[in-house]
Every structure is written in C-alpha cells, then in structure tokens.
C-alpha cells in the first residue's frame, strides 16, 4: 500500500500521533484518557507508518524490537507499585504524591509512573503481535 500521499502524510502523522498519545496518557487522571488508550493510539501510529512505508522502515525508526517495551513497561509499573513499601513503609499500590506541582505535568505521583508502565506494555504487546503476524509468511 505504498502511495505517495499516505507516505508523506504518515511522515508527519507519526510524531503528531505519538505526541497525542502522550497527551492522552497524561490527561488520564483528570479527564478521559490514560495509559491503556494512550498505548493503543501510539501502537496505531506505528502501524499506520508501517502500512505506508513498510515494516522494515518502521522497525528502523523504532531502532529496536517493540517487544522490549513490554519488560520495561512491566518493570516501571511494578516498581511504582512497590514504591510505597520501599519508600514510605505503606501497603503496596498506595498512591504517593510529590509536594507542589510542575508546570504542564501537574502534580507528580506514583500513579503516573504506573500508567506509563501500562502505556509501554500496551505498545509493546500490540506491536509485537501485529509485526509478528504480518512478518510470518
């Protein structure tokens, strides 16, 4: 499906969609959105790129196999889940929040890291499945 229009468009769409997915991830705590949807949007962004430029090109952009997203994401989620035990002697999954807030991002809490973990796992899993299936002859 290599058309010039799609190829050109996807070159611009990929960064925009990725940015959008991060936006969805970050707004999740107050407004509709979150790590799961964000991850799906990011995955769709890469799939669109793969449709336009071919999987090998997308893989080149990614630099590494999307499967690596999965352990990294799970690790982040796990660390943020156990952080209350380690840092504050509280039960697992207790929300920890930093004092004060940062511009744009707002208050940083352990929930954000957890959601980031979910985001990465979803990208990794979705892309691994789709890439594997499309590569298998």
């Amino acid at each position: 499906m290599k058309t010039i229009i799609l190829q050109t468009a996807s070159n611009y769409l990929l960064p925009v969609l990725l940015l959008f997915s991060v936006f969805i991830l970050l707004r999740g705590h107050y407004l509709p959105g979150g790590g799961f949807v964000g991850g799906l949007v990011a995955a769709i962004a890469f799939v669109l790129d793969a449709f336009a430029n071919g999987i090998n090109e997308t893989k080149r952009v990614l630099k590494f196999h999307p499967g690596y997203f999965m352990p990294v994401g799970l690790g982040i989620a796990f660390l943020s889940a156990i952080s209350p035990i380690v840092l504050a002697d509280l039960p697992i999954m207790t929300g920890l929040w930093a004092d004060g807030s940062i511009p744009v991002l707002g208050t940083i809490g352990s929930a954000l890291f957890f959601d980031t973990g979910v985001y990465l796992v979803v990208i990794g899993a979705a892309l691994t499945i789709i890439f594997t299936i499309s590569e298998s002859a």
């Binding site: 959105g33 949807v37 799939v47 994401g73 957890f114 299936i133 590569e135």
Partner: protein, 768 residues
C-alpha cells in the same frame, strides 16, 4: 542417619560429573559407598540388640506434619543391613559383570539412587516421607529395568513395572492421608498409641485396603505379580538387588511396620492370608513350567513374597519371627542364585535350563555356591534355610486353621525346593556340552559375592543365636508390647515340624529327579496366558489407549471453529440451566420513550452491518463491516457518557480490523469453505447464544440498582487518589493490582503469538 541416606543421592549426582572416571577400570571404587554404609549400620547392632531405638528428626514441612523422621529399630536395621550388604556385593559384582559398558557410570548412578531411596523408605517413621522414598524406589527401578534402552522389551517391561508400582504408590498416599486424617499425625510411632481409635474408625477398612493395594503392587502379590517376571529384562545385578532382595520387600516391610497399628482385625488377617496363600502357590506352580533360569527365580521370588505376606497375615509372634528370619534366608539364597545365574549367562550367553549342564567342570567355585544356595533354599540342615523352614511350619501349626495352612506351606516349600535345585544345581551336573568346554572362570569379583552369601547362610544356620540377638528379638520388641521369650535353634528334637521338614526334602528331591523342565510345558502354560492377569491388564490398557485416542481426536481436532463452538455450547448450557427455570421477563416499555433518533440510527446501522457480514462473499468486506459494528458500539458508549470506554473500544477495534486484514492477506480468497449444513449449525448456535445474552442483560436490568460502589468511587477518587477521572483512578489506583496482572496477561499473549509464529522447527524436530 540423614547423611547416610543422602550419601547415595549425593554420589548419584557426583557421578553425573565424573562419569568418565567411574566408567573405566575405577568402577570398583564406587562400591566403597555401600560398604561404608554397611559398616555404619553394623555399628548399631549392639545398641539395637539392647533394645534401644535411635531416632533423628528434621523438620521439613511442619505445618502439614510432614517431617523427615528417621527411626532405627530392629526391623529397620534388618532391612538397612540387607540393603547395604547385598548392595555392596552387587556393586562389586557389577564392576566385573558390566565391565566396559558405555553406560556403566549411569548404572551406578541409578543403583546408588535406588539404595538411598530404599534406605530412606525403611528408616522413615513419617508416612509422608516414606511415601516419597517409596516413589523414588519405583522410579529408580524404572530406569534400571529399562537400562538396555535400545530393546523394546526392556522399555515395555519398565513401563509396566512403573505403572503397577506407581498406582500402588498413589494408593499408599491415599492410605497415608486417611491415617493422618484419623490420627492427626503422620508419624507411625505416634499412631501406635491410637490403635483403638483407628480400628473403630469408619474409614478403617478403606485405609487398610489402600495400604494393602500399595503393598501388594510393590511386593508383586497376585494379581499384580506380573510386572516382576517382566522386570527380569533388567541386567542381572538389578534383578538380584531390586527385584529379589530389597525393593520388592518394601511392601512386606510396610505391612510389617503397620501391623501393630492396623493389625488384629479379621479384615487384616484374612485378606493377607488369602492373598499370600494364592500368590505363593500360584507362582510356585509356575516354576514347574519355566525353562529360563531367571524366569524360575522370578516366580520363586514371587512365591517367597507370598509366604511373607501369608506369615504376616497369620500375625502371631511365631509367624512374625518366621517372616523376619525368612527375609534373611531369602535374601541370602535368592541373591546368590541370581548372581550365579548372571555368571552363567555372562559366560555361556544362555539362561536356557534345558541347554545348560556339567558346568561344574569349568566353574567349580560357582558350582559350590550354587549347591549351597540350593540347600539353603530347600531348607536342608544345617543351613539357615532349615531354621527358617521350621519356623514357618511352627507358625502355621500354631495358627487357627493349622491343617490347611500347614498343607499350603508344605506344598509351596516343596515346589520352592524343586525350583532352588533346578536353578542352583542342575546347570552344574551331568555331561558338559562341547561348546561350553572353553569357558573360563570369571573375575573373582563375580564369583566371590555369591559364595560369601551362601557361606553366611551356613554360618547363621550353625549359630542361629547371632540372628536371634541381632534381629529376631529386637523385631519382636517392635511388634509386640510384651513379647514372649524364645530361642532360635537348629535342632528341635523329634516332632511334627521335623517330620514335615523331612517330607518336604524327600518329595522335593524326588521331584527334582523326575520332573525335567521342557519347552512342551512352557508352551502349555503359555496357552493359558489369555486368562492371566497380565494379559487382561494389557488388553485393558490397550482399550483405554484407543478410547483416549478417540476422545482426544473428537475434542482436539485442531479446528478453531469447533473449539469456539464447544465453548459457546457449554456456556449456553450452563447459563440456560441457571437462568431459565426461574426466569420471568418483565419489560418496562415506558423507558423506550427516552430513545433518541441517534440511538435508533446506530442500532439500524449495526443491524445492517451484521447482515452484510453474514451474507457477503468477500472476507475483507466482512471484516470491515464487523469493524462498523465495533465503532457503533463505541458511539453508544459515548452517548451513555462513557468516553473512556468509547476511546478504548475505538482504538481496539481499529487494531482488530488491522490484525484481521493482516491475517486475511495470507488466506485463500474464497470465503465459502464450509458446507451449508455446518454454517447453519454455527448460525443457530450464534443466534441462541445472542438471545440468551440478551435475556441475561434484561434480567440484570430487572434487579434493583446498587449505586453504592459508584458513589464510593465518586466521593473518594479525588480525596484519596487525587484524580477526577474515576475510570482511570480505578485502573491505576483502587484496583491497580488487577491492572498489573492484566498487563502481565497481555505480555504473555504477545509472547505466545511471537513464540508460535516465530517457531521454526527443523525437519527432524517436527512432531509427527
């Protein structure tokens, strides 16, 4: 004691790394392990004969009452010495018998594994740890029987033996759990004080039957005996060690050990006497029809095990002493007969009794050992066999049905006399065939062990007090609270027992000279095989295998649509079973007034898309219209103020359609692959399932609404979790662990797809 047991296991592991060393001429060094263990256990004799009991307890899983409790008393010392003693000789013998075998190290590994497991079995006071060691002996026996793993027969026999003894082990576990349930402990020594409680318990009979089944399978009692002749496919040292001297006596040991706990009831004694008697006679008669030396020995071993079970069944002190002494007698003569058979087989390459004769001219020391072994086996004075035989007759004469039981014992003993002489004397007498003239004596490592054992049999016969103080007395102290005093003697004076002994020896000798083993007899008995327990069980297992194949092929046919069909059908069955009997549909039509134009439009769109999906001829179009259904759903979610759900549904549907397209790309173009009939069937299934789901949802709506949970989250989402989006807060905070597990599942799914599709089997790895 723990170290003593672990030594064998450690050596087996050690052999994995140093196999090369032990495979060569240093093999004989490995005998140091059983010899040192033998010396270790020998050092306990004076302590035990003074009536002491040595115990050691190591906590293992105290919360379940499963501990490594080791107890050394008269009974376990007898078995421990037998295991390590016969073990030492077998280890020495093997180094010559299997000299240069490419798997000799492996063989030693299995042997020491077995030795350690068997030691653990007889030393355990805890039924659970005993069960574990019990299973370990079955497993090591499996490896040893199948040692010649390129022979189909060996593998089959190994599997049969494992199957039978494995089932027995499972039943032992059942019996142990029941006993533990009744008494609240797995320690046998603690059960002893609760005998009355156990015997009046409603589960008593069940527990006894389970224990019997375990003992009978392990000790090859009728009708489970058939694995033992099959096990003779193993190399001779294995037959000597496992299938004659030690492992097959584990069942007898179990009965011995538990008879103070479970014994005393009608059930216990009658069953043991009946099964023991059937086994000892049935297999003693079988001896008459065999021409293979090992076959003869196998059946005489089964018969001897029958005698032991029979004696435990009688259960008097005299009977148990007789059993204890007979265990020693049997180990000494049967092990040496097996080793002698091994020498004959090794030198002449045959075990066919009709072809063997005159070997005394070339194998004189072996012939002497064989002759003495036959004397012990036949109970000819002054051997220990004579003492043992007298004790058996005394026990049967003192029992309830003295005449019948004594008659059975005498007949069995006559046949065993015959068997012993055929195996121990016949190959060495007569004229030496020409082809055997060039036979040399084997290495002394092979002929000294049997000679040593039979000489021991003579020494013990002349000095039975050695056995009495070391084993017989301590064992009676274990078995009875107030044992009567007794003395083992070679000479009892002229009495009934002596008369019976004389009859046994005379008839046995006459039989030996009259009856010759021939092929004709062996062929005759093979004609009756179709009613033998072995064939019945084999037919049963073959039928079961066929049934299993049919069953698997029906349910695991590899068609995804059938799997989905079965899953859906089962769900339909379950839901309608629960939902329909009390189902009343009360529809509130007034709520339809709120329906908006948008909603109706979406419903119509979905309906059209579904119809199109079902009837279109293009796969791509079907997938696309399925996507329309999905997007319409996310619109519905949006209308009912669930934007999070809508977003997710939208993205998921996009990806699903992409996935479908990717898969379809690789499939053939045409859509109508299935027959009309099966499509109708699937359609009906789908319609029924859909209707049922509709009913389910409607019935949920009829239930009163519970808003408490929603309210709780709405109130606390910001207060506790600093979030305004409840859905997200639930996902990342309130029910964060769920999310954690969900993303793990996601990863597993992705890895599954990756693994399945990237798996490239090389042609030779492909599963056929």
């Amino acid at each position: 004691m723990l170290t003593a047991i672990l030594l064998g296991f450690l050596f087996a592991i050690f052999l994995v790394f140093t196999g090369k060393f032990f495979r060569g001429k240093f093999a004989v060094i490995s005998s140091l392990i059983p010899i040192s263990l033998f010396a270790y256990f020998l050092s306990f004799i004076s302590q035990i004969s003074n009536g002491e009991i040595v115990t050691q307890k190591i906590n293992w899983i105290p919360s379940f009452g499963v501990d490594l409790t080791f107890k050394l008393d008269g009974l376990s010392l007898l078995f421990a010495l037998m295991i390590t003693g016969v073990g030492s000789l077998v280890f020495l013998y093997t180094s010559a018998y299997l000299k240069g075998h490419k798997y000799l190290d492996r063989f030693y590994g299995y042997l020491s594994l077995f030795m350690a497991a068997m030691l653990g079995l007889v030393l355990s006071d805890n039924l659970m740890s005993m069960f574990i060691f019990w299973e370990l002996t079955s497993i090591s026996s499996f490896f040893l029987i199948g040692f010649n793993n390129d022979a189909k027969d060996s593998r089959k026999s190994a599997l049969t033996a494992l199957g039978i003894t494995g089932i027995g082990g499972l039943l032992l576990l059942g019996g142990a759990v029941l006993l533990g349930y009744m008494t609240g402990t797995y320690e046998i020594s603690e059960m002893l004080s609760q005998t009355d409680l156990i015997q009046s318990h409603p589960y008593y009979a069940l527990a006894v039957i389970l224990i019997f089944a375990a003992a009978f399978t392990k000790s090859a009692q009728f009708p489970f005996h058939f694995w033992l002749p099959g096990a003779m496919k193993a190399p001779t040292p294995v037959s000597t060690y496992l299938h004659s001297a030690t492992m097959v006596k584990a069942g007898v040991y179990l009965l011995f050990r538990l008879s103070p706990v479970l014994g005393g009831s009608e059930l216990w004694h009658t069953t043991l006497i009946v099964f023991g008697a059937i086994t000892m006679l049935y297999s003693a008669i079988h001896i008459l029809f065999r021409t293979d030396l090992k076959g003869i020995l196998a059946y005489s071993t089964i018969s001897a095990l029958g005698i032991l079970v029979f004696l435990i069944g009688i259960g008097t002190q005299a009977a148990l002493i007789a059993a204890a002494v007979f265990i020693i007698v049997h180990a000494l003569y049967k092990a040496s007969l097996f080793l002698i058979t091994g020498i004959i087989d090794h030198e002449t390459k045959t075990r066919d009794i009709t072809k063997l004769a005159g070997l005394r001219k070339v194998l004189m020391p072996v012939a002497i050992a064989g002759f003495i072994a036959a004397l012990i086996s036949g109970g000819v004075p002054p051997t220990l066999g004579f003492v043992g035989k007298d004790l058996i007759y005394e026990a049967t004469l003192g029992s309830q049905y003295a005449i019948i039981l004594t008659a059975l014992a005498v007949i069995t003993k006559i046949l065993l006399f015959y068997g012993g002489f055929v195996a121990g004397v016949k190959p060495f007498t007569g004229k030496l065939p020409q082809k055997f003239e060039k036979i040399h004596m084997p290495s002394p490592l092979m002929w000294i062990p049997p000679l040593l054992m039979v000489i021991l049999g003579l020494v013990f016969g002349l000095l039975p007090s050695l056995i009495e103080s070391a084993f017989a007395k301590p064992i009676t102290q274990v078995m009875f609270e107030n044992p009567e005093n007794f003395q083992l003697k070679l000479w009892h004076g002229f009495n009934t027992v002596l008369g019976l002994s004389a009859i046994t020896i005379i008839i046995g000798t006459v039989m030996y000279f009259i009856i010759k083993p021939t092929y004709a007899k062996e062929n005759f008995i093979q004609k009756l095989d179709f009613i033998a327990p072995k064939d019945l069980m084999l037919k049963g297992s073959t039928a079961f295998e066929k049934f299993g194949k049919l069953w698997t092929n029906f349910f695991q046919n590899g068609y995804l649509r059938d799997y989905v069909g079965i899953v859906v059908a089962v769900i339909i069955g379950l839901i309608s079973f629960l939902l329909l009997p009390n189902f009343q549909l009360r529809l509130d039509y007034s709520s339809l007034e709120d329906v908006t134009v948008y909603e109706i439009a979406i419903i119509l769109m979905m309906f059209a898309a579904i119809v199109f999906t079902v009837f279109t001829n293009s796969r791509l179009a079907a997938v696309a219209s399925m996507g329309i259904v999905g997007f319409s759903f996310s619109l519905l979610f949006l209308f009912y103020s669930a934007p999070d759900l809508a977003m997710t549904q939208f993205s998921v549907d996009t990806l699903t359609v992409i996935l479908f397209v990717l898969v379809l790309y690789k499939l053939p173009k045409y859509l109508k692959m299935t027959k009309r009939k099966s499509r109708m069937k699937h359609g009906a299934l789908a319609v029924v399932f859909g209707s049922l789901m509709t009913l389910l949802v409607l019935s949920v709506l009829q239930e009163p609404k519970n808003n408490e949970i929603t309210k709780y989250y709405a109130e606390n989402a910001y207060k506790l979790a600093h979030g305004k989006n409840i859905v997200n807060v639930i996902l990342v905070d309130f029910r964060g662990i769920d999310t954690m597990i969900e993303i793990s599942v996601l990863i597993v799914a992705a890895l599954g797809v990756f693994g399945l599709l990237k798996l490239r089997l090389r042609p030779k790895d492909k599963i056929k």
